[in-house]
């Protein structure tokens, strides 16, 4: 800390560093995705329970129904967004080296986006496949 010999004001030094402004959006997005995930997860587990032991053809037929692709993509997007928001908080709490912290936060955000994209494209390929 070099506060005493710095000509910048206290506010100027911390502006943009803390959770002010962006913290509320993070918190709100975490809750909004949480609420969305409650019905999505119940649907998901019930569906997978129904598909236990199903063949490739049966799962494909299920994926071409009107409900499954919509719910699955919603689950992937809401779930992975919720995951990266939560993982960011966990990383920020436990990883104190700035370099490692930011590397992990960036990796988790890009990784979650990539996973959502791969999963969504897989769902669409099956749903619209011939």
């Amino acid at each position: 800390m070099s506060g005493q010999h710095n000509l910048r004001s206290g506010l100027g030094q911390v502006r943009g560093l803390g959770s002010a402004k962006e913290g509320a959006a993070h918190w709100w997005a975490q809750r909004l995705t949480a609420i969305a995930l409650v019905p999505l997860v119940f649907w998901f587990v019930a569906s997978l329970a129904g598909l236990w032991g199903a063949s490739h053809g049966e799962v494909v037929a299920w994926m071409r129904g009107p409900v499954a692709p919509v719910m699955l993509i919603a689950l992937l997007v809401a779930g992975l967004h919720h995951l990266q928001l939560g993982m960011q908080v966990v990383i920020e709490d436990y990883v104190h080296s700035e370099a490692a912290k930011w590397t992990l936060v960036i990796a988790i955000k890009l990784g979650a986006a990539l996973a959502a994209l791969i999963g969504t494209i897989a769902v669409l390929r099956v749903a619209f496949g011939t």
């Binding site: 019930a46 490739h56 966990v90 791969i118």
Partner: protein, 132 residues
Amino acid sequence: MAQDDRPLSPHLQVYRPQFTSVLSILHRMTGVALGFGALGLVAWLAALAAGPDAFAVAQGAARSWLGCLVLVGFTWALFYHLCNGIRHLFWDAGMGFELETARLTGYGVVAASFLLTALAWLAGLLGSGGAS
């Protein structure tokens, strides 16, 4: 102590674990675990899209005894995180902060997580026996 070495929150080591604090850290641990579960789901979807051969490999892994064990673990983690997440949403709304209430809802969450896990697997195993 140098400023850089000061412990930052959550500084768990100094607290004796309590029922509610164990549930709290379990929420984080199940959340992190479910990140790996999400990767499993994406891999399963990719295998489904790749075709019957890749899907057979994925299903074979899922139905091995180790696969089932991991999936039961993920099911419980998912239901625990979901139920405790609902508990968190009530806290966000300003409800259920009294110690006794927090303890009771904690027991409720644990009971519900095991019940829902058992229900899901019962439905899956019984249902597949009848369907195929």
